[in-house]
């Protein structure tokens, strides 16, 4: 998905911030002892990973992807994503028609293959 997009953003970018954002960032630089660049980078990186996680969780909620797919979208390992699902109260969704009646078929298969 992301690989199909033609990137326009360069590695360095100038942007205009509101007075209140500048104030807040100045305070955060003072408070965290990080440099301005480090702090801004970490804020952007956090926003990117939050966005990816949200997108992955929405896809799982809709039932449109598997856990591996979603973990890939979120940029997390399978286990880390599984834990995030539980943390966020997200439950695995199946297609009802896929699992209804499966037990009887399974039992027949097991009895045949014993």
């Amino acid at each position: 998905m992301m690989n199909d997009i033609k990137y326009k953003l360069k590695k360095s970018k100038t942007l205009r911030l509101s007075d209140s954002t500048v104030k807040n960032i100045n305070y955060m630089v003072y408070d965290t002892k990080l440099s301005e660049s480090e702090l801004l980078r970490s804020i952007i990186e956090k926003a990117v990973s939050d966005y990816r996680l949200k997108k992955a969780i929405n896809a799982i909620k809709k039932g449109s992807v598997s856990i591996s797919n979603a973990a890939n979208v979120a940029g997390l390992s399978y286990r880390d994503f599984f834990d995030k699902m539980i943390e966020n109260g997200i439950r695995i969704n199946y297609d009802e028609k896929d699992i209804d009646g499966n037990f009887d078929k399974l039992l027949t298969f097991i009895n045949k293959n014993k």
Binding site: G63, V65, S68, S77, D80, M85, R91, I99, N102, L107
Partner: protein, 172 residues
């Protein structure tokens, strides 16, 4: 002389979602009793979370390692991956290798994940969810109805309620 032990138990290949859920319910020991258990390497790394962020071990990681150490868990890789699997499932994922092995060796695919379940259903590959597994243990008289209902409720933490209801309807 080398003695070969041939198991007459049905073979299952387990994916990470099923393993995590079943160990969480503390019913994994019955798997050993009723099935010949296989994992693929990729699922092992998904379970053991071989990522840079790993900071702790969960119970299912420990149980997995212990069973592997005493050779009750076997690792096997599929010889090839059918194209229809590559077209439908996540590239280089546990589910992909798991189903490929299931097809190759006529195994039951044990999974709680939607993508693999749908693929198995469409392609007539036998599969077992943790809900099916609980029902199987009821069927073999390992679990009482009361215990099954408790387990279904516990499973509701990870699986949508409407699917738990499908399991519960077997008791009605």
């Amino acid at each position: 002389m080398v003695k070969t032990v041939i198991s007459n138990k049905p073979k299952i290949v387990i994916d990470a979602s099923f393993w995590i859920n079943v160990v969480y319910l503390d019913i994994e020991s019955y798997l050993l009793k009723y099935f010949d258990i296989y994992f693929v390497q990729k699922v092992e790394s998904e379970i053991l979370n071989e990522s840079e962020h790993k900071i702790y071990n969960t119970r299912d990681m420990d149980v997995y390692s212990k069973l592997k150490d005493i050779r009750l868990i076997k690792i096997r890789e599929p010889k090839n991956i059918p194209k229809k699997l590559l077209d439908n499932l996540q590239y280089d994922s546990g589910e992909l290798y798991c189903i490929a092995l299931g097809i190759e060796d006529n195994m039951i695919v044990a999974t709680d994940d939607k993508g693999p379940i749908s693929f198995c259903k469409i392609n007539n590959i036998p599969f077992m969810t943790s809900i099916d597994y609980i029902l199987y243990l009821y069927n073999t008289k390992e679990l009482t109805k009361k215990r099954c209902l408790i387990l279904f409720n516990m499973l509701n933490k990870n699986i949508s309620k409407k699917f738990i209801e499908i399991g519960k309807k077997y008791f009605k």
